[in-house]
Symmetry: C3
């Protein structure tokens, strides 16, 4: 049986602090067997988000690392909410929002930074769900990536 | 016990007319214990939407009022669909779409206009769910804000 | 009783090949009585997507055809996943993403290209759900339209 907490330990990942809401919302909410997560920023160890627009301030590889960091922030929220990563049964849906210039066209490459992290924690079947990865005109505080997820628990 | 209809009366709110679909879709749909709402525009008392782009035509406070107006339009749809605001158990998820210039970065401030309204109607726990508040390149009819919600009923 | 497979035959529709994921995600996922679909591109018969930005490269009628093509790609995924279009009970929610210039404001017109297709296959009640149709700054591979759907099965 797959053990996400053990897998997490093996990977030696460092999580940022679990994020606080930036407005009037909850970062996570459980409804029946679903865990809804608000859009998560790429929060760093010092509690501050990665900043900059993809295609001008950040290249696609820096943006992919930012997507991975948003994924780590999501893991921090899941651990704070559920106590254990093992309580997530699988990823249902991931919405990857990239703040980029109009000519940028490699959104899937960027959001793989988060998807690869989830696959390494929950496995290549349960850690991978449906997804859209698309380009926004702007994001809060000029962050490069914001990611929203729906988990089955 | 919290009474959203009574709370609504106390607040003295004026609702716009319940919106008609702008295309081939339903404004609301019930599936099991969920009420899905289509993206709602900031419709005014005369049935016309607030128009303009945030960061050029509208400032952040005008945009926040537009988000509140989109929230009032959502209340009008809920009343038309369910007959009573009391039938909403809680907000699960809100998606706040802001039509803004690429340099705009205060989307959470804007969408709080809707979230504060819902918190005042359904209370600070059930009226507040998960949320993403992000910046779009354009919105239908050049409205400043469009809001989509998932309620538990 | 409405028969979507028969209706599909009558319409004489030609489907593109069922799409492969462009990154680390599943194109479809079943959770209980819901079928989640990832964002789908307007894939053509040769397996390549329609390309171009709405408002500069494509006009609103070309964009509407692209939305219809994204809808056909969704039908291809549904058939590959479920074997029959009859297994879809209804459309719950459709998210129509348009890659367009900031001045474009006819997103509902464009996304009707997909909604009209679904209504012709599953009928004017079950084939029509809630919807948001909005404008993105950019989309993967510079496609004009990407569509995400949630079906009840």
């Amino acid at each position: 049986m797959y053990n996400a907490d053990e897998q997490f330990e093996k990977l030696g990942l460092t999580l940022p602090p679990a994020p606080q809401a930036l407005g009037l919302y909850k970062t996570c909410l459980i409804q029946e067997n679903c865990l809804y997560l608000s859009g998560h920023l790429p929060i760093q160890a010092d509690g501050k988000p990665i900043i900059g627009r993809v295609g001008s301030d950040l290249n696609k590889d820096e943006a992919k690392l930012a997507a991975r960091q948003a994924g780590l922030t999501i893991l921090a929220s899941v651990k704070a909410q559920l106590g254990s990563l093992n309580k997530v049964k699988r990823v249902i849906k991931l919405f990857g929002m990239v703040n980029c210039t109009p000519d940028f066209d490699q959104h899937p490459y960027v959001i793989n930074g988060c998807s690869e992290l989830f696959a390494s924690v929950w496995g290549s079947d349960n850690g991978v769900g449906t997804r859209s990865a698309v380009g926004f005109g702007s994001l809060p505080s000029n962050i490069p990536v914001e990611i929203e997820v729906l988990f089955e628990i």
